[in-house]
Subunit: 208 residues, 4 copies
DNA sequence: TATGAATGAGCCTTCATTCAT
DNA sequence: CATGAATGAAGGCTCATTCAT
């Protein structure tokens, strides 16, 4: 999958994979702060204690680095989401669970997420990014699939189904921009807050 | 304010301002699609039927162009928001009005907005961008000022006041990424949807 | 034809073409001496009193420079050869005329020729160089077309027709490597010498 | 002579020499096809089933590899030529024999020859290559020594002695570029063809 | 011996910016 | 005002070479 030659012997390959992973992770961090284009391969390399050329043992190009960051972000998210949806449960419970999962993922991959958002214009164009775009699409469809029945049941806080989805996407994605690890709210609380908003719910008990 | 020599005679100055405005607007469009760093001054110039050098009659540097885009975005928004807040009205009505104003502004300045978001990492750092950062802060404080009493009155759909603000920011800002001019929903409808979500309200009729 | 934007206004275009021509010619000279790969664009630029970047106004890439050198070499040669062959004349006279033309061209374009030969391995491979290869082929076919009847008439100094062609090619092409402008022999004399060898002729008068 | 540590024990040394020879030979092949500069040590190593580092057990540097290729080419040629010239024989017979020897050598070392020609610009400059240049010079002088008396005797097909030498060099060297092992003509036949051309001869017997 | 990771110098190329016309 | 040529500073990437294992 990588454009560079991956060792064959299991011992070496393992080490190689571990390091590649570290390179990508470091890249996510630096790109998130300095911006993809404004980050030099030299800077990036320095941040991993590697000479500039060393990066290219693990990554074929700067652009591929971006690709790998997206993969590290979307791969596990989709995987975990699929597992979750495979379980039998009510749509509202599943949506809540999925949003929790998602917010947790976003907060754990803040850097990846920020890069993903900032480089939107790159990802939206060109055949090379089709896979990434499809991954995102797939995730949105999972959300849609859960929102639809809830909408049909009149459980949503807005009349328009699609607006609900867009709002949810906006809220959760934006989380990467303000969430701080040791903040007042845990990822789960944040997620629940979003879902509550979507359901227009929590005030119900307040009424009487 | 511009780094280039602005004509003194009113007739010329007017024309100059008009053209500068067009340049900035064009830049917003191209930057939104290709990305700031990935857009060449040449490309930008070509899109306005100008040679590369021509840009520099109206703009001092590429970076200043980014600054002007932010100004074109935040200036009028803050201005209109201030006017609105100066009127006497209930917080909930004002919040709804402000969100409408805001969503309208975002949809009318989609390109500006997208650039603003993508270049977050630039704007977040450096003295040069302090003014821009403050503008954004100021706007958020307006929202906060309206949300606080609503929260105190138990009118919000979430327990945490700041989460409400963050959610609102996420929803509205994200709008720039999916809104299409001739879509099903008008900016006002979208704005109302967001506010409804925030209030956890619209299901009110469900009550009895 | 060039990969760079050529001016539209005739005045400028003329200057542009003249300079591009000069760039290519300079490149031929430097490449011939230092070798294509071992020549830096910087060095090349310096030899024309241009900053490194300046080259790229006239040429799209280093590789294209090689292409243009080949064109400058083969284009006029083929053109002049075609004109010559269009005239009515005996094959032996035409061959002699063609070889003269050819040797003159080679000596006038020594640098181009040396580059052409040294970069043989590049030109022999890849779609990009097809046109160049065809040009060379075309010229060889012209020679073949003249040699064939002479061979049939038993006029050649060797039994094998193709060997005659190969020998001729070897002799003439090699000329670029030893010819010096103010040497003992003029290009025409050299050419005649080659043709004499090919005809196995001049000693005829010696016989009696 | 090699810059790398050559084993002392005869058994090992033999194996070492054999392998070094193979490395050089492989290099000749790859360089001939891809070009010296355009061939990576990695590519070269791969073509001998060796990792990049492995090459350096047998060769001190890439440049030395080029030197060794030249040696593998010129060494045996000069040796065999000396032996031949040491025998007593008429100049014309010796020239014919020498050209045969030479053409055979060229066809057997096509790759070496092609590299030698392509890297002309390297070999022509610098103290390091003096020895190689002298080897070539020496060989040319042998040819000259045979051509001179033939010229004096009016046996050549051209008036100019040096032109004859240049033509011969051109023909034979060029052979590497078109000769194919199982072609119509054997190296000896090719050689004889060249000599015939030089003598302007073969048709003589035809006359009567 | 052999391997593959790592280095670091260097090169092609891009591009914001300047300036003579 | 506008143009397009020219500059020159970087930056991504390659690759010969070294070295611990």
């Amino acid at each position: 999958m990588a454009a560079t030659t991956r060792p064959t012997r299991p011992r070496l390959r393992e080490r190689y994979d571990r390091r590649q992973d570290a390179v990508v992770r470091a890249a996510a961090r630096v790109f998130a702060h300095r911006g993809y284009d404004q980050t030099t391969i030299q800077e990036l390399a320095a941040s991993i204690d590697l000479a500039a050329g060393g990066i290219y043992h693990y990554v074929g190009s700067k652009e591929q680095l971006l690709e790998l960051i997206c993969d590290q972000l979307m791969g596990p998210l989709l995987e975990r989401a699929r597992v979750l949806l495979a379980e039998a449960a009510e749509p509202d419970a599943q949506l809540r669970a999925l949003v929790r999962l998602w917010v947790e993922h976003v907060t754990e991959h803040r850097d990846h997420m920020l890069v993903f958002q900032q480089e939107r214009h790159v990802i939206e164009r060109g055949a090379r990014w089709r896979r990434i775009r499809e991954d995102r699409k797939r995730f949105e469809q999972m959300l849609e699939g859960l929102i639809a029945p809830l909408h049909a049941a009149g459980r949503l806080g807005v009349a328009d189904e699609r607006l609900a989805l867009a709002a949810l996407l906006g809220m959760v994605n934006h989380t990467a921009q303000w969430y701080r690890p040791r903040g007042r709210l845990s990822p789960a609380e944040i997620a629940d807050g979003y879902v509550d908003l979507l359901f227009g719910a929590p005030r119900a008990p307040v009424d009487p």
